[in-house]
């Protein structure tokens, strides 16, 4: 169960918003976490609490292949991203890191910043403020295997024979 507060940034949250280009020289994930979302909300990294959920509209994560973006989110404490749609490189990168990226129609209208959110990955249900329930699109089986392994690194370590 992922439990926290929602941060809604709407449509087209690009990778320069999630981690601006000047921080691409960083290699320490915790350092990246300190600059998460700095391109759109410079105070985000100070405000976010472990388990919080970032909400987006269409095309979340468009732009660069920089894995720094989902690394920064993960290491800032973000427990999951829920959006209406994703750019494909970001989506893969996040899953490979074990950061759940869930697709849910209309989520950017249904959940606002400050709402309390609970995500049940097994049942596929998001509960908002203890009342409203939203269903997210089931995670593809192959992606779920990677998420369950904790990301692609441990998945490959454990499944080298069938890779």
């Amino acid at each position: 169960m992922i439990k926290g507060k929602a941060w809604n940034y709407g449509d087209d949250v690009n990778t320069d918003f999630i981690l601006p280009g000047i921080y691409l020289e960083l290699t320490d994930p915790n350092e990246m976490g300190k600059h998460a979302m700095e391109g759109i909300d410079p105070e985000f990294a100070d405000k976010v609490q472990p388990g919080d959920v970032v909400i987006g509209g269409r095309n979340f994560g468009l732009g660069s292949s920089r894995e720094h973006a989902p690394i920064a989110l993960k290491h800032s404490g973000v427990g999951a991203v829920i959006a209406e749609g994703y750019a494909r490189i970001f989506y893969r990168n996040a899953a490979n890191l074990g950061l759940p990226t869930l697709e849910c129609p209309n989520v950017s209208k249904e959940i606002k910043t400050g709402d309390a959110v609970e995500v049940d990955l097994v049942k596929g249900i998001i509960t908002v403020n203890g009342e409203k329930q939203l269903k997210f699109t089931p995670v593809p089986e192959f992606m779920m295997e990677i998420l369950n392994a904790g990301g692609l690194r441990s998945y490959i370590k454990e499944n080298r024979d069938k890779w």
């Binding site: 087209d12 690009n14 320069d16 918003f17 601006p20 280009g21 000047i22 691409l24 020289e25 960083l26 290699t27 391109g39 759109i40 269409r58 095309n59 468009l62 732009g63 660069s64 292949s65 920089r66 894995e67 720094h68 989902p70 690394i71 749609g85 994703y86 750019a87 494909r88 490189i89 893969r92 990168n93 490979n96 890191l97 593809p140 192959f142 990301g151 692609l152 690194r153 490959i156 370590k157 890779w163």
Partner: protein, 417 residues
């Protein structure tokens, strides 16, 4: 009845044919990493308990995004990349004197038709211009690719961009792409491959095709592909020492969608802040004052791009309120531009020439914008804050529009310059 992407993915996963949506594990032919993502990729590979790359001849690192180093952090990153290249005994390594990765990879003969190429940079789709399936991936995927020589792919549906007719004077391939972005939107090709076809594409140079494929990602595309032809083979002659078999789409291949571009009627296009699909014909944006012009990047840093700018600027002076930064994409481009007096013409007009690198494009190297400033850039992204302050504004255009605008100080139709 397969598209180019389907055929290449089938051949690399030892299947007769594949269906869009299917997940395949495919063999990689070549993998490259710019410095900014290389260290992370190797950290990922080591975390998978893999010590050595699967094939030292087929993996390379290029120091291109920031070159030369501008501070201690990125100098340390460059140092780590050099050490990794030595430890791993990589056959190819490209230091800060090499240029932009997407220019170097084809120039040095690492791309050929029918291959499967991955790069830890989103603009890896550029290499589809040579009839390859080339796609950008993140660092963990790259760790798996360089460690095992394999990676999983979801077979994409293909969207056909069919451009017919002759482009007008000073209308360039960038304009075709920006028009496509306007039609499809920034997520219109998500999870899809783009195939560029039609007489306009056949007439284009290799460099112009690279501009098209380069920006497939800006429409969400997994890759952009052009069919290889004699121009492709002529470019590759003397560069590629690998045997290859060109791959073409079947005449009855199934496309998700076809976008028609009427090239003869196409005007120069401009992508306005802060989205690549916020595209307008130049005639609707004319007169917007600008502070900086950037001519360069993996999108438009080739000889024909610099030559177009030089043709427009020849014997003239850049407007006093504008600074122009021109960056050849590689030493090969730089040498040719010197030989043809392109560099001299640009310098005479008042341009600053920077060394081959990613330069101004991504806001992490040089040419940073101050709050309130406006840039007209020939690169590929105009997200808020992309080239500096989050209060600056980036417009995207062809080198022709950029050069014409540099002379007047406002966005200008290059057909009138």
């Amino acid at each position: 009845m397969s598209t180019i992407s389907e055929k290449i993915l089938a051949a690399h996963s030892e299947q007769k044919d594949v269906t869009p949506g299917e997940i395949v594990k495919a063999k990689i032919d070549f993998a490259f990493m710019p410095a900014l993502t290389a260290a992370l990729s190797f950290h990922a590979m080591y975390d998978m308990d893999i010590k050595k790359v699967w094939d030292k001849d087929k993996v390379t690192i290029l120091l291109d995004h920031i070159a030369p180093a501008t501070n201690i952090k990125n100098a340390t990153l460059h140092k780590e990349c050099r050490e990794i290249a030595k430890e791993q005994n990589l056959k190819h390594f490209y230091d800060i004197n090499s240029g932009v990765c997407h220019q170097i990879i084809p120039e040095k003969g690492h791309v050929y038709p029918g291959m499967l190429l991955v790069g830890a940079d989103s603009h890896t789709c550029t290499h589809g211009a040579f009839g390859a399936f080339a796609t950008g991936i993140g660092s963990t995927d790259m760790g798996a690719a360089i460690g095992t020589g394999k990676l999983w792919f979801k077979v994409p549906e293909t969207i056909k961009i069919n451009a017919e007719g002759k482009l007008g004077d000073r209308v360039m391939s960038k304009d075709v792409l920006l028009k496509s972005a306007k039609i499809l939107g920034a997520d219109g090709a998500t999870y899809c491959a783009l195939e560029f076809k039609g007489s306009t594409i056949s007439d284009m140079s290799i460099g112009a095709r690279m501009t098209l494929c380069n920006m497939a990602i800006e429409l969400g595309g997994k890759t952009g592909i052009c069919e290889p032809d004699q121009k492709t083979f002529d470019f590759l002659e003397g560069r590629v020492d690998h045997e290859f078999k060109p791959v073409y789409a079947d005449t009855d291949a199934v496309y998700k969608q076809t976008v028609e571009i009427d090239s003869a009627r196409l005007e120069p296009q401009v992508a306005c802040p802060h989205a690549v699909d916020n595209v307008k014909p130049v005639t609707e944006v004319e007169g917007k004052a600008i502070n900086q012009v950037f001519i360069g990047s993996c999108t438009n840093g080739r000889l024909e791009d610099l030559s177009m700018a030089a043709e427009i600027m020849k014997g003239k002076k850049i407007h006093s309120d504008v600074r122009v930064i021109a960056t050849p994409a590689s030493p090969e481009v730089y040498y040719a531009a010197m030989e043809h007096e392109v560099i001299k013409t640009l310098m005479d007009a008042g341009a600053v020439i920077c060394n081959p690198s990613c330069s101004v494009c991504f806001g992490g190297n040089h040419g940073i914008l101050a709050p309130g400033e406006v840039s007209l850039s020939t690169s590929n992204r105009n997200f808020r804050g992309r080239q500096g302050s989050t209060e600056s504004f980036v417009y995207l255009s062809s080198p022709a529009t950029a050069a014409a605008s540099a002379l007047t100080g406002v966005i200008t139709d290059p057909r009138e310059a």
